[in-house]
């Protein structure tokens, strides 16, 4: 008995895997066109489908939303009873139907066309009513289902779901989705929690801030950088006002042109007026700034430009385990 069950289970997995593999050759310029269309769209992606397709559509909506593509689910029946009002002309409507002959879905076609949306279908039959009326057709047909007597769609739902993932991931790459974007859409996640605090809660303060006075030699600066191992030191004047920053990168760049660095004053090497944020900034926004300017150290200053603390990228991401952008 056990052997028979295992055999059947393996057959189901084989059939489903093959169903997805068959899609590999079907992904063509139409798919690229769809990714481009959604990427450039000013509206949202509205997914619709009924029955099992509706369930898959909801999952694709969730994936698109959490990866930065605004998306909504529209129930075809509710659409005909008023929900169509949520659809705007600049939205992209993606209809899911294996047969392409689902009445409730096909009844929507004229209304969607009238609104002026682009209609895309994920369809198992490219000659169906839905496919023929779509602006873009994505073929998700499978050769074989794994369930006896057609009691439930199996390989075809897997294929639909996989194509939805392919769309979401392609858009992630197209948008160059970053960890800070991830936080925006996953506030409950581990990374999300770290990014939702204020900078003052995670910045280093007091003795832990590598600081040197303006006018000191670079020898002293290097000693300070080595002391706290942050790869940078902040340069402050007699009023504790921030005037510059010296990073490992500044030192390396200087050494390319001259190896007489120890005798130099800090002003010869430092970057003046570095990027700063106030202590009540969200860690998320600090991270966004670091990504934008490709920096790993951020001085924290008050409105009088007095140094309050310092923030390293690793303090935001936690234990330095998370790397991104190669910074």
């Amino acid at each position: 008995m056990g052997t028979k069950i295992l055999k059947q289970a393996k057959e189901v997995l084989q059939i489903e895997a093959e169903g997805i593999l068959n899609l590999v050759n079907r992904v063509d310029d139409k798919f690229e066109e769809l990714v481009d269309l959604i990427y450039h769209s000013k509206g949202r992606v509205i997914l619709t489908g009924i029955g099992k397709s509706g369930i898959v559509a909801r999952k694709i909506v969730a994936t698109l939303n959490s990866t930065g593509t605004p998306s909504l689910f529209l129930h075809p029946v509710e659409a005909m009873h008023g929900d169509l009002g949520m659809v705007r002309p600049d939205d992209v409507v993606v209809a899911l139907s294996n047969s392409g002959e689902t009445d409730e879905l096909n009844m929507l076609i004229p209304s969607i066309k009238a609104i002026g949306c682009v209609l895309v279908s994920f369809c198992g039959r490219v000659d169906s009513t839905l496919a023929r009326n779509s602006d873009i057709v994505i073929d998700v047909g499978v050769e074989r289902e794994a369930c006896p007597l057609g009691l439930a769609p199996t390989a075809s739902t897997t294929a639909l779901l996989a194509m939805g993932d392919a769309l979401a991931v392609s858009l992630v790459h197209k948008r160059r989705f970053k960890p800070s974007d991830f936080k925006r859409f996953h506030p409950g996640g581990n990374l999300g929690q770290r990014l939702s605090v204020r900078v003052r809660e995670i910045m280093l303060t007091g003795e832990l801030i590598p600081t040197v006075r303006a006018g000191v030699s670079m020898k002293e600066v290097i000693e300070e950088i080595n002391r706290l191992q942050m790869g940078a030191a902040l340069v402050i004047d007699e009023d504790d006002t921030l005037v510059g920053i010296v990073t490992d990168g500044d030192i390396r760049r200087f050494l390319i042109h001259s190896d007489q660095i120890h005798e130099r004053r800090v002003e010869d090497v430092m970057t003046r007026n570095p990027k700063t944020v106030p202590p009540n900034t969200l860690a998320l926004d600090a991270l966004t700034m670091m990504e934008k300017y490709e920096i790993t150290i951020l001085p924290i200053t008050n409105s009088a430009k007095r140094v309050q603390g310092i923030l390293h990228l690793h303090d935001i991401l936690g234990k330095g385990a998370f790397k991104f952008n190669g910074v």
């Binding site: 057959e11 084989q14 059939i15 093959e18 593999l21 068959n22 590999v24 050759n25 079907r26 009924i50 029955g51 099992k52 397709s53 139907s97 294996n98 047969s99 002959e101 689902t102 009445d103 198992g124 490219v126 000659d127 073929d139 047909g141 499978v142 050769e143 074989r144 289902e145 794994a146 369930c147 006896p148 007597l149 057609g150 009691l151 439930a152 769609p153 075809s156």
Partner: protein
Amino acid sequence: MGSDTKEYRPPKGLICPIITPLTDKKLLDEASLEKLIRHVEPYIDAILLGDISFGEVLFLNSRTREDLIARGFEIIDGRLPILVTITDETAEKTNKNMYRFESIIERSGYTGEIFWVDYPIYYHSNRKLPQFYRELSENTKIPFIIGNDPRLIKNNKIPVRHKNIRTSIMKNLANLESIKGLIFSGTLNRALNYQKGLRDRKDFRFYDGNEGTFLKRPSSSGVVAGGANLLPEAWRKITYSSLNLYDVQREYRDYVRHIWRTGSMLQAIYDLYGKNPGVVMKYILYLAGLIPNSVTASGESVGPDEERTIKAVIKEYEIV
């Protein structure tokens, strides 16, 4: 492919390989053929004339085979796509059948959709098979659906090296525009390997030639189901359900129970005729009153034990 080749889309869904009703003298029983076609026609998507298993075509003399095609085309009269088996014992005979049948069809002025069905491994090795079809295609306007069925080869009197079309050969065959589909019987592994080989042909049909396989894991192109001779409506229900999975469930209040019962019945009936389709199906159709006798082209008939089992099963499902 011939210059004037018809660009039909192969049918999808339920294809009935109609049995060949015979008179006591083993000639075509035209009246029964018409009755049977009328019986299945409302429920099927295409009809297969002269199937090797159900149509017993390899046991028919050439006159009966020609009569079957001529009369079959008259009865169907363009209402359904027609598949015609051309396979014979040798490549020469198969080629000759194709010419003969095409001239019969041309003379009839038939304008409906037609496909040749051929089981090449029955008479031809894998070697140079694509070349064989290239040459065959040059001489016909009708596209092909090829068949793979190791069960047929098992019964072949002429010893053959392979019982299946090799996957690499299948891939080459699928490159020929004139070949539009495959009626497949065999293992799941082979089916999946063929599918891999056929990936580049989006319009290619992959029918289940084994009804039992279709009941367990349905192909999305459809099935060639001899059981439809007896129970076309039930086969229609299962085929439609399998090919329209997303939409059909809402059509029945108790869909799962309905389909399970129908499917179990079809499976039980298939278990009766699966091993000897032509002979057993004819006997069941005779018991069901759909044909006046159970005369087979081979002269074979069902044994007493088999008769008892058949009668018990069809009584259980209230078929008679």
